[in-house]
Amino acid sequence: MRLFLDFIPVLIWALLAVVLVVVMLLASWVLRPHVLQNSEKTSTYECGEEPIGPARISYPYNYFVYTVLFVVVDVMGAFLWLLSSSNILWSDATKYEVVWQVIVFMLIIMGGIGYVMKMLPQSFLNGEETLEAYRKAKAERKEEPHAAGGH
């Protein structure tokens, strides 16, 4: 309960943020010219180009790795925040064992991130590999008529 009361300044800030957004939206509504909306006005602006196709397309799966990386760093940050909000890293009773825990923890996670950074370029569909597979398939097909006796 006391902790909740400590966060009341944060709530006041959140309220101010909401009020700011509402005031800005209202002000822009009051200030802007209210002209007739037509399809030209409401269409998506794409640097003067005609919009082609829907905006909601499925992105390549490779971008999924970036969000997993974000979650990993997020969780790592939460645990380091717990460490930074305590005094166990500089109280003599605990600092020698905790520093090893922190080093091992960081090494494991940094190793994982380094592995992903190393493997990420290989996981993208590379044009050269596609070309190689294509040439191989083409060569195999050229071989086929001779193997079958040819017509």
Binding site: Y63, S85, Y115, R141
Partner: protein
């Protein structure tokens, strides 16, 4: 002062619970999936209010960092990666009877969890030492990092597992895409090779034509 704080706590709890229920309903039922994801994020950050009321600062911070930040980002990315469903059959119930059965099951689950919440001896089920630990960041850090460091290392290993799994999924996806260059953009499109009677795969070409032509 005690009486005021107690009443304030009750009001606070009911307010947060109401907001969480409304946001959870919106997150489930909103037609636009991106809005639903944002409502989920707001709901997760209001759940942190419960933990603040319970004086558990680490769980509250974890809730905001991981759920509002991480899981919401994960859901929004999932929306970006998946193709948009055109006509979803999940939106409506197949028949009135199925709708009634669904409502009945939901009511039974709500009633049972309500009974459990009222009957279960919550107050006696907690270990007093853990209550003290959860209220104090310093005590919690001592418990987690100094006394039970293996838990933190296990979390690190689980995180690494998720990274390796994501890379493995991508590699499998890539192998699948390379293997399926057939049809109009594959070797069948090559004019110098005479056509044979082998059946052409129905699946769409996975590669851009300019890379094949290069």
């Amino acid at each position: 002062m005690q009486g005021f704080e107690g009443a304030f706590e009750q009001v606070e709890f009911l307010l947060i619970a109401g907001i969480v229920l409304v946001l959870a309903y919106l997150a489930l039922e909103h037609k636009e999936i991106v809005y639903a994801a944002f409502f989920f994020g707001f709901m997760a950050s209001f759940v942190a209010g419960f933990f603040l009321l319970l004086e558990a600062p680490f769980i509250a911070g974890m809730q905001i960092a991981v759920y509002t930040g991480g899981i919401s980002a994960l859901i929004i990315f999932a929306v970006l990666l998946l193709p948009r469903a055109q006509d979803s059959s999940l939106e409506t119930f197949a028949s009135k009877r199925k709708r009634r059965i669904g409502l009945m099951v939901a009511a039974i689950v709500a009633a049972l969890s309500g009974i459990l919440a009222l009957l279960f001896p919550w107050a006696e089920s907690f270990d007093e030492t853990f209550v003290i630990i959860s209220n104090d960041l310093n005590e919690l850090a001592l418990w987690l990092w100094a006394n039970n460091g293996i838990y933190v290392q296990m979390i690190a290993l689980i995180m690494v597992t998720s990274l390796v799994g994501a890379i493995a999924l991508l590699k499998m996806d890539k192998a699948e895409q390379i293997g399926s260059i057939r049809g109009d953009f594959g070797i069948e499109a090559e004019p110098t090779i005479e056509e044979d009677e082998s059946p052409v795969d129905e699946e769409p070409p996975a590669e851009e034509p300019e890379e094949v032509d290069a």
